[in-house]
């Protein structure tokens, strides 16, 4: 089947422009009418108490446990869809500071990707009830809801989103009323990327331009390289030093982009290129935003300090509900797993009503289609496929097939990772699972009203050819994610003593620690400093997704002291494109990155929100060139960077000679898979001046 499909896709795409007929669209609308959801939310909101001007006090003493809650008594909430509007004042190329827009550089390629849709989003306080047995909780959220509204967009439809900061002016307690939003990991220009230092204060707004294009649109006009498609994004607060508290307060949501391959619909007749994964959104395509919280008896979220959130807590929330249930029909569903932090690492297992493990089929990693689906199950002979481990900010689109489930029974999604805050997840020692570790239940109701037309093709995509741009390599840039404490006592290679740092550096919004020339590609080596404290760092890089070339583990012989670097190859779930690269203690990962289309400042940082707030965050810039080869330039005010990591990076030069020859095992382009037709959508050069 897959072979044929592949052939079809190749031949049919140029002729089949849209793949959408009026008939199919009517069908879709009809199908949607069957299920009216998202209305229950309104009635709940009406019963909530008024929003206090300041968060209520958490009654002393500090709780060690949340109030008891009964699992599976509330339905899984589905975030409503963001609705476009007409903005007033009308969005402009330059920041409209006269009307209260926050300072920013002019939008890049604004007229080329002139927004066809406008959204108005207010970041504001709200009351949200996480469980019927816990009083309503003071939260912050996009448009006053948690999780924020889900954006549904199509590649090729540029939009502008106006984020109003309506947080309290004199906020007390945890969370900061300065705000910036990052669309993770949109191919967006720097001024719309939500750079951590570009936050704006209450009363101001900022327009973010989301062109919804594939990377490489200058090389492959007009919309870029469709092989760079990414489908599952999330948007969240990125104000530095307060990202953990602001996200814990609830400032995050999801953003999905479809195209003519991942269409969001499952019915036939959308053209042979359509994957027809389960859909549409809210019915068979369900976001699952996982987070964990600790509640006081009065419903207030507990923070360990006014600027810190607990790393490991006792209440598992999905889309803002504690241990919800979700009614499913006996058919396939697409679930979009998101770990929205702040620190927990989840390992999910799915079991049926008899406790037997059930496989989950992963189709995308961080929103990027895998070359072919990968099955994970709780009892696998391949360690990397045992359970689905989701580090902070990672996304996995998972197909769960309930076709053979027995109506009237329930399946359970369980977290089996024992939590040592920020550490590597460890398997639960005992086979029995505590009810508190069950994240949610799937109640099987019965057969679907109409037959399941969705499918999970064996070939989902092909990966962009990265062997050709390898010629451009400037070299390998090394990023040491350190927690400098182990060697602190008299360690000459450890001069800063800063707890969280990258190459000995901490965040300075006005200083770029690396500059990369526009249009180039590099390999980056991301390393968890050896020996480390045992913390895991899920490292995130803005702008473009990368390809994992190699994973390595560093071991030291206890008797001889010889350090060995063991290549481990690329695990199955990292065969595709990623934007979060977890590095476990003593691990390093070699990735390939391209820097295309946009200029300006971007970041590489640990996405454990607490580490990020501890300034484990580095700014790097895409410039007209040339690329820098050192990490420690002077500060923007001209003073030399004295608190630097020169000794650290001296032992490991920041930039090494280009990797001209990679071992064939790196498998840059799996043989036997052909490229999709490159010009992608419509194949035209509309709007391009010859």
């Amino acid at each position: 089947m897959s072979k044929i499909k592949q052939e079809n896709r190749k031949s049919a795409r140029p002729q089949d422009g849209s793949g959408w007929s009026r008939r199919t669209m009517l069908k879709a609308s009809a199908a949607a009418g069957v299920v009216t959801m998202l209305t229950s939310r309104k009635t709940l909101a009406q019963s909530l108490p008024p929003i206090p001007t300041q968060p209520p006090d958490c009654a002393a003493p500090a709780p060690t446990n949340s109030p008891a809650t009964t699992p599976f008594v509330q339905a899984l909430p589905i975030p409503p869809v963001a609705i476009p509007t007409i903005l007033n004042p009308f969005p402009t190329l330059a920041a409209d500071t006269a009307n209260g827009e926050a300072a920013r550089a002019n939008h890049q390629d604004w007229f080329q990707f002139f927004p066809l849709l406008q959204y108005n989003v207010s970041v504001q306080p709200t009351m949200h009830q996480f469980h019927p047995q816990i009083p309503p909780t003071y939260c912050w959220g996009y448009n006053g809801i948690y999780p924020g509204p889900t954006f549904l967009n199509i590649y090729g439809v540029p939009v502008v989103v106006r984020f109003h900061n309506n947080l309290p002016v004199d906020n007390i307690g945890f969370g900061d009323n300065n705000h910036t939003t990052h669309l993770h990991n949109g191919h967006t220009a720097s001024e719309s990327d939500g750079f951590a230092g570009d936050y704006w204060s209450p009363g101001l707004f900022k327009d973010h331009h989301y062109p919804n294009v594939y990377a490489g649109f200058n090389e492959f006009p007009p919309l870029g390289d469709q092989l760079e498609a990414q489908h599952t994004y999330w948007y969240h607060d990125h104000r530095h030093s307060f990202t953990a508290t602001n996200n814990y307060r609830g400032i995050n949501g999801m953003y999905l982009i479809y195209d003519d391959i991942d269409t969001g619909f499952e019915f036939p007749g959308q053209g042979p290129q359509a994957l027809r994964l389960p859909g549409p959104y809210g019915i068979y395509d369900i976001p699952l935003n996982f987070t964990d919280k600790l509640f006081c008896a009065n419903g207030e979220m507990f923070a360990t300090a006014p600027d810190a959130v607990p790393g490991g807590t006792d209440k598992f929330c999905v889309n803002g509900a504690i241990q919800p249930y979700f009614n499913v029909q006996t058919r396939k569903y697409r679930f979009r797993f998101l770990n929205s932090g702040p620190a927990r690492i989840w390992t999910f297992n799915l079991s049926d009503n008899n406790g037997n493990p059930v496989p989950m089929t992963v189709v995308t990693t961080d929103g990027n289609l895998l070359p072919s689906p990968v099955e994970v199950i709780s009892t696998s002979s391949v360690p990397t496929l045992t359970g689905l481990t989701v580090y902070v900010s990672q996304r996995y689109d998972v197909i769960i097939d309930f076709t053979n489930a027995t109506p009237g029974t329930s399946w359970y999604l369980t977290n089996v990772a024992a939590q040592f805050v920020g550490n590597a997840p460890e398997p639960e020692p005992a086979p029995g699972v505590n009810i508190g570790n069950v994240v949610m239940a799937f109640n099987i109701t019965g057969p679907p009203p109409s037959p399941d037309q969705s499918q999970v093709p064996e070939v989902l995509t092909t990966l962009p050819n990265i062997s050709k741009p390898m010629a451009n390599l400037f070299g390998t840039r090394v990023w040491n994610f350190n927690d400098d404490v182990v060697g602190a006592e008299g360690d000459p290679a450890n001069p800063t003593g800063k707890v969280f740092n990258v190459n000995g550096l901490t965040f300075d919004p006005n200083r770029a620690d690396a500059t990369v020339q526009q249009g180039s590609s590099e390999t980056w080596l991301i390393r968890n400093r050896f020996p480390g404290t045992g913390w895991t760092h899920p490292v995130h890089i803005h702008l473009e997704e990368g390809r994992v070339l190699d994973r390595r583990n560093i071991t030291v012989n206890p008797t001889t002291g010889v350090i060995t670097i063991n290549s481990q190859g690329v695990p199955p779930l990292e065969q595709g494109r990623r934007d979060v690269y977890p590095i476990l203690p003593n691990d390093e990962v070699l990735i390939f990155l391209q820097f295309r289309d946009w200029f300006g400042k971007y970041m590489i940082h640990c996405h454990n929100l607490g580490h990020e707030d501890g300034l484990m965050l580095v700014r790097w810039d895409v410039t007209t060139g040339p690329s820098s080869t050192v990490t420690s330039p002077v500060y923007s005010d001209g003073t030399p960077n004295t608190g630097n990591g020169q000794v650290n990076s001296g032992a490991q030069p920041n930039i090494t000679p280009a990797l001209t020859a990679l071992a064939p095992t790196f498998n840059l382009n799996p043989p036997g898979t052909s490229k999709l037709n490159r010009p992608g959508l419509k194949g035209s050069k509309k709007g391009v001046k010859a």
């Binding site: 959408w20 199509i154 200058n218 404490v485 006592e489 007209t624 004295t642």
Partner: protein
């Protein structure tokens, strides 16, 4: 905590800011300043103030000198706030070594102005506040002495806002971090600052924009004048909205 502390911690105190976490949270142990004056942690150091707190010891020659030098520069940036509504506290990590007299000499040697106190006390009280303010839940970090020379805690008791920064780092960054716990500035001031920031960005763009344009020309990027209209995509999006919402 002695018996008196136990009572004072839980008795309502009208002089304390309404939003304060109070002595029950911060503890209220007695420390001794480099001027050899006894002070209570909450009542005399935290209550109603913005406090900038770090740990050090006088004989520390590896990390502390640079951290303290950075704080010396920070003093100037705090201006006349220092000693009025903002205070800097450097607690010792080695109370056995650091007597008030020794700390006084250290303060003088580093040019500490009034409002910057160097404090010593009992090992128990020092460890209590160190864990309260700087705990990372990792034994390697929490029991390492040297690592604390790099940590800075900034507290405003009036609105219970905290933040932190690292040492050594450019003092302007630390001054900015202190401003985050201060009450939000009036809207008119923030609008003016926003306009100033915009002017700085525009000034930078004057230099970078021609470079970028030149780069695009030199690399043969397509020059796109017409916007990319996508009626088909809009239609699809409409369908998605119908289905989802």
């Amino acid at each position: 905590m002695n018996r008196r502390d136990f009572f004072t911690c839980h008795v309502a105190d009208k002089s304390r800011p309404a939003a304060s976490l109070g002595p029950g949270y911060y503890s209220n142990g007695v420390f001794r300043t480099h001027e050899n004056k006894p002070v209570r942690f909450y009542d005399d150091l935290i209550k109603g103030k913005i406090s900038i707190i770090n740990f050090m010891y006088a004989s520390c020659d590896k990390y502390c000198p640079r951290s303290i030098a950075c704080l010396t520069k920070l003093q100037d940036l705090l201006g006349d706030h220092l000693g009025r509504d903002m205070f800097m506290y450097s607690f010792t990590l080695k109370p056995d070594e650091d007597t008030p007299a020794k700390l006084a000499a250290y303060a003088k040697g580093n040019g500490a102005r009034p409002g910057w106190l160097f404090l010593t006390g009992s090992e128990y009280d020092l460890t209590s506040i160190r864990f309260k303010l700087f705990r990372l839940d990792d034994p390697l970090l929490d029991f390492s002495v040297d690592i604390h020379a790099s940590m800075l805690r900034i507290i405003n008791d009036n609105n219970s806002r905290w933040t932190s920064w690292v040492l050594p780092d450019p003092p302007r960054l630390i001054r900015e971090a202190v401003s985050w716990v201060e009450p939000t500035k009036p809207f008119a001031v923030r609008v003016r600052e926003n306009a100033e920031l915009q002017a700085a960005i525009d000034k930078e763009s004057v230099i970078s924009a021609p470079k970028r344009a030149e780069f695009k020309r030199a690399h043969g990027w397509p020059e796109i004048t017409a916007k990319y209209e996508n009626p088909d995509g809009m239609k699809k999006l409409q369908t998605l909205f119908h289905a989802g919402a």
